[in-house]
Amino acid sequence: MPKYKTGPLKCWNKAKELRQKYYEDYVSAPKSGALRIGGSAWAFSAVPEGLGDVRWLTGEPYGASCAFDRKFSLSCLEAAEKKGYARDLCAYMRNYWGSILIDQYAFGGGFPKPDFFWTSHICCSHAKWYQVAGELEGGTPCYAVDVSVGPYTQITPHGVAYVVGQLQDGIAWMEKLTKRRYDDARLIEAVITETEAMSLWAKICMLNRNVPAPLDEKTMYALYVFGVIMKHRPEVLALYRELHDEVKERVERGIAACANESKRLISDTQPPWGFLDVFRHMETYGAVSIGSLYTFGLAGMWDFPDGTMVPKATPRQLGQTPRTREEALEAIVRWTLCRPEYQHFYNPGLKTDLMMRIIRDWKVDGALLHYNRGCEGLSLGIAQNRMELAAAGVPVSVFEGNMGDEREFDHARTLERIDSFLETLGLRKVEV
């Protein structure tokens, strides 16, 4: 007899269609006179919106999509290696480069080249990723914005000015390159939408404080992605509104993601995308991953009062709705610098602190950290996080893998390790 009621998400298909449309729209952009832009999902995506109709292909989610299709991914990875790129580089990046090299798009057809790259740089790879991609494509122009100006606790005026200045230069660069006139009103609207959407995703994550959790992390992966690939778009805001209402209703009606939820876990860093079944496997023990700083903090934006975290107050809620280009750029810069997933780049201790907030407030029993060989950026300081969580008395275990290179993931051994961890938490597999 299951402990809790479960049920599928009603907006699931809508989300699936929206994602499919995103990748198709990118291909068809030239037909409707739209520009194609490539770059990191961490980019200031609201900014090129001022150019008019633009369609995005964000590199990391694209790399994850490749990884999901293991055979396709392998041909990409091998093509990148053949070209001389090391196997330990970012797996998303190698999937992306490989797609250029074999001229195949993971969603069918040849690989669609962008008009230009617009990206942000915080790990060692971001700007270099598109530098190389541009070279492989025979000279696609690239503009990268350095956002590494310190943690959310120490945002300085000269740091904000540096990033805003780069965005202003970037707008001039885009205007010159595309010969389009830049429309500040579109920028302002995109900034407002982005802040609303990201705050709303955080609000959805808040609902997962409930026992039983209405969402499990595997499901969240399919939903958080919109806050990454098109966070500034009104259709995402609309989807998140619908999702929020539905999840709220699940909480009210006691509908769980996992029928036998008895231990609540968090994960860390990107999962091995080709092997999401590890999450379903955990559920056979009654363990559910209720999220992570990754799923909460990549698409969601937060305020951090008094040892806790709450959805970040948007400029609109604060009565500071931007009215000019300068105000909009400053608003989005200040907003973005608070991204939870940026903080460990300056100090892994800040990340441990944020993880501890989740552990306390979301009633978490243990942490399962993915030592992700595919992303040194999000793995930075993870050993320190492990030590600090353990020192705080949190049961913590690690497994090694790769988000986008299946050759580095040992499925059987990982399951074995997860089983061992769940057993130390006192769980037993429900034998069927």
């Binding site: 030592y371 060989r373 492990r386 353990a390 049961p395 275990s397 090694e400 580095e408 040992d410 059987a412 051994r413 074995e416 390790r417 089983d419 061992s420 961890f421 057993e423 130390t424 037993r428 597999k429 034998e431």
Partner: protein
């Protein structure tokens, strides 16, 4: 009442039969391609005919269809060590492919660490190196103990370490010094994995590599603690599984 634990590992199948809390039978078989056959043969050898409850563990535990439960090797090793050496608070298990350290108390695993990919294969590495140095695996430890010279070897990655061994051979480094360097390097790797947990004596060492005396000494030096190698060390997980099976009655 008879209960049985089966540990289906990468290399071997081990069976232990318990009767009223005492070992009545045991068997070890090399695991071939048809694991089910090896399990059946080992069960027969261990005289497990009247066994009522079976619990299977190890990486191949799914192959034991009649198992009542299939807990992991970590849980079983913690149980098993409590039977063999009740005072142990930590078990280090170094096998062919994987090294692991388990903190335990009263038969329960409290925390554990398993080596990362880059530091995998301690046992296999020593085997390969004994072939490269043309000495028997059994002779590897005694030879290494004859060494008087410390040769630093970086062993974060077995592939790199192997190149270093080749370099040492070319430089005409005496075999015993190379053998010691290999043991020291492996001990360094396993030791650092253990240090991810707190080192809590008494510490038991099990697994095939425990038979290598030079490795044991190196690991003792590295961890700055004595290691106890219990009798029947290779059966520790099978014993743990059998104990869990006994509870099922």
């Amino acid at each position: 009442m008879l209960s049985c634990g089966i540990d289906v590992g990468a290399r071997t199948v081990k069976v232990v039969v318990l009767e009223n809390g005492r070992i009545r039978g045991r068997a070890i078989r090399v695991a071939g391609l048809q694991v089910e056959d090896d399990v059946a043969a080992a069960l027969k050898e261990a005289a497990a005919g009247e066994v009522r409850t079976i619990v299977a563990t190890g990486s191949g535990r799914e192959a034991v269809k009649e198992a009542r439960q299939r807990p992991t090797g970590i849980t079983c090793a913690a149980r098993g060590i409590h039977f063999l050496l009740p005072e142990a608070r930590m078990v280090i298990d170094v096998g062919a492919e994987e090294g692991r350290a388990i903190q335990c108390e009263g038969g329960r695993a409290l925390n554990f660490a398993v080596n990362e990919k880059c530091a995998a294969g301690a046992g296999t590495f020593i085997e390969t190196m004994s072939r490269t140095l043309e000495i028997a695996v059994d002779g590897f430890g005694p030879l290494a103990l004859q060494s008087t010279k410390l040769v630093p070897m970086n062993a974060q990655c077995a592939v790199f370490a192997e190149s270093e061994v080749v370099s040492l051979i070319h430089e005409k480094t005496p075999k015993q010094d190379i053998a010691r360097a290999v043991c020291d390097a492996m001990a360094g790797r396993i030791g650092s994995m253990c240090r991810r947990l707190a080192i809590t004596p008494p510490v038991a060492l099990v697994g095939g590599v425990a038979k290598n005396t030079a490795f044991v000494r190196a690991l003792e030096n590295d961890l700055k603690t004595d290691l106890t190698i219990p009798p029947d060390a290779e059966y520790v997980s099978a014993i743990g599984a059998a104990l869990i099976a006994a509870e099922e009655h």
